[in-house]
C-alpha cells in the first residue's frame, strides 16, 4: 500500500502550483503553456475520477449494440467498421443513443466547460 498523499492529491497540488504560483510570474508563450499544462492535469484528474465507470458503461453499450465480446479498443474498431461498411444504418436509434452518451462522457473529462456541452446538459 502506498503512503498518502493520494495520486489525486499530488496532481491537484501541482495543478494549483502552476495556476497560483508559476502562472502569475510568467509572460507570453510561457504563461499560455503553463495554463495548458494545468488544464492537462485537470483532464487527468477528471479522467481518474470518471473514466472507470464511463468505460464500463461504454463497454456494456457496445456489447449490446454489436452483439459480441471484446475490449473497448476492439469493439470500437468493429463499430467503426460496421458504420463505414454500411452494416449499421445511420438512422439506428440505438447507434445514435450510444454515440451521444459516449461523447457526453468524453466531454465531461476533456472539457466540461465547452459551450455546446453545457447547452446539451442544460447547465
Amino acid at each position: 500500500m502506498q503512503d498518502p498523499p493520494s495520486p489525486e492529491e499530488l496532481l491537484k497540488t501541482v495543478h494549483d502550483f502552476l495556476m497560483n504560483v508559476a502562472l502569475p510570474k510568467l509572460e507570453g508563450h510561457d504563461a499560455f503553456h503553463a495554463r495548458v499544462a494545468a488544464n492537462s492535469l485537470a483532464i487527468v484528474l477528471r479522467s481518474m475520477s470518471l473514466s472507470p465507470e464511463q468505460d464500463e458503461l461504454e463497454l456494456g453499450r457496445l456489447r449490446d449494440l454489436l452483439g459480441q465480446e471484446g475490449d473497448l479498443m476492439s469493439l470500437n474498431r468493429e463499430l467503426c467498421r460496421r458504420i463505414r461498411d454500411g452494416e449499421i444504418g445511420l438512422e439506428s436509434e440505438a447507434l445514435q443513443q450510444h454515440l451521444w452518451e459516449t461523447t457526453l462522457a468524453k466531454l465531461a473529462v476533456d472539457q466540461p466547460k465547452y459551450a455546446s456541452y453545457r447547452d446539451e446538459i442544460g447547465a
Binding site: 463499430l79 467503426c80 458504420i83 463505414r84 459516449t102 461523447t103 459551450a115
Partner: protein, 336 residues
C-alpha cells in the same frame, strides 16, 4: 557582439530603404507571435510611436530559405502575390511594401504595412471599444467574400484545385492514417459522403476565413489575414467555415464567428455578388468544417507521439476532438 535582432535590424534597413528611402534606422524591432518555422516582426520607420509601422513575415535562410510551402499551405512569396491580387479586387488586406529576394539574405517572405486592430477572438468578443462594430460584422464578412471569390486565377497555378470529393477523400485518408477508431467521425464521414456536392462552382477560395484571421477595429472589418490555405474550390466553403461552432469561442448562439447571424452573412453575400447563397451546400461545408477541425486536432497526436513536437500544447490539442464530436452530433441528429 550584436544580438540576433540587432543583426536583423541592420539587414532590414537596406531592404527597407529600397521602398522608404527616407528611413535611416529601424525602430522598435519586436518579435511577434508566429509559427515554429516562420517569424513575424513589427518595426517602426521613424522614432514616432504613432508613426508608420511595418510587419515582416519571413522564413529565415538558415531554416531552408525557400519555403516550398508549409505542411498545408502556399509559400510566403505566393501569399504576398495573393494580398496584391486581393487588394486589386477591393478586399481589405495589409498593403504589401516589398517581397524579399534571395540575394537580400533575409530568407523568404515579405514586408507589409502594419494595420491597427485586433485579431484575437476572445478579446474581440469581450471588448467594450469594439462592441459597436460587432452587429455589422457578419454582413461585412458577407460583402467581402464575393470579392475574394472573384480573384482571377491566371498565374495562380500554385493553388490546389480541391472539389468537395477531393477534400472529403483527403480527410478520410488522414483519418485512416491516424488509425484510431472514432465512431462519431465514421458516422459523419458516411453522412457527408452521401451528400457530397457535385458539379459545384470552383472559384478562388480563401480557405481559412474565420474569426481569428480577421483584423477588427471600431469601424468593423479592417483586413482579411492568413491566406496560406488559399485554393480553388467551392465558394460556399468560405461562408461555412466562419460558422463552424469551434470558431464561435463560446458564443454559440451567434453562428457567425460568435458575433453574428447567418442571415446577415448571406444577405451581405447576395447583395455584393448578385447571386443566391446555396444554403444546402453551406450546411454541408459547415458540418464538414467540424469534422475537418476535429481531424486536424486528432492528427496532431501523430506529431506528438513521433517526438517531433513534445510541447504541452501539442499534447493537449487532440483532447479537443470531443468538442467537434458533440458539434457534429448536434448538427447531424438535431435541427440545430
Amino acid at each position: 557582439m550584436s544580438t540576433p535582432s540587432e543583426e536583423l535590424a541592420a539587414q532590414l534597413l537596406s531592404v527597407v530603404r529600397s521602398f522608404e528611402p527616407e528611413c535611416n534606422k529601424i525602430h522598435d524591432l519586436t518579435r511577434l507571435s508566429g509559427g515554429a518555422s516562420q517569424e513575424m516582426w513589427s518595426f517602426r520607420l521613424t522614432d514616432d510611436a504613432n508613426g508608420p509601422a511595418c510587419v515582416l513575415r519571413r522564413q529565415p535562410p538558415e531554416r531552408g530559405g525557400e519555403s516550398t510551402g508549409t505542411k498545408l499551405g502556399i509559400s510566403l512569396t505566393d501569399e504576398a502575390r495573393l494580398y496584391t491580387r486581393a487588394a486589386e479586387q477591393g478586399v481589405p488586406v495589409p498593403k504589401i511594401r516589398h517581397t524579399l529576394a534571395p540575394e537580400e539574405g533575409l530568407g523568404e517572405g515579405f514586408i507589409m504595412n502594419h494595420v491597427e486592430g485586433e485579431t484575437i477572438p476572445q478579446k474581440i468578443l469581450k471588448s467594450e471599444s469594439l462592441a459597436p462594430a460587432l452587429p455589422k460584422l457578419a454582413r461585412q464578412c458577407g460583402e467581402v467574400l464575393p470579392k475574394i471569390h472573384s480573384i482571377a486565377l491566371d498565374g495562380l497555378e500554385v493553388l490546389p484545385r480541391l472539389d468537395a470529393e477531393t477534400v472529403w477523400r483527403t480527410y478520410r485518408d488522414l483519418y485512416d492514417q491516424c488509425g484510431h477508431p472514432n465512431p462519431v467521425f465514421e458516422y459523419a464521414f458516411r453522412w457527408l459522403e452521401e451528400r457530397l456536392p457535385r458539379d459545384h462552382a470552383m472559384t478562388f477560395v480563401h480557405g481559412d476565413f474565420r474569426h481569428g484571421n480577421l483584423m477588427i477595429g471600431p469601424d468593423g472589418l479592417r483586413a482579411v489575414l492568413d491566406w496560406e490555405l488559399a485554393q480553388v474550390s467551392d465558394p460556399m466553403q468560405d461562408l461555412a467555415w466562419i460558422c463552424v461552432p469551434s470558431w464561435r469561442f463560446g458564443r454559440i448562439q451567434n453562428p457567425v464567428g460568435g458575433f453574428g447571424r447567418r442571415e446577415d452573412l448571406f444577405e451581405g453575400y447576395e447583395a455584393t455578388s448578385g447571386t443566391k447563397v446555396d444554403v444546402d451546400r453551406v450546411r454541408y461545408w459547415e458540418i464538414f468544417g467540424s469534422l475537418r477541425w476535429g481531424m486536424m486536432c486528432r492528427s496532431m497526436y501523430t506529431m506528438f507521439a513521433s517526438g517531433q513536437d513534445r510541447s504541452v500544447e501539442r499534447a493537449a490539442i487532440p483532447r479537443r476532438v470531443s468538442e467537434t464530436e458533440i458539434d457534429l452530433l448536434r448538427a447531424l441528429l438535431q435541427e440545430s
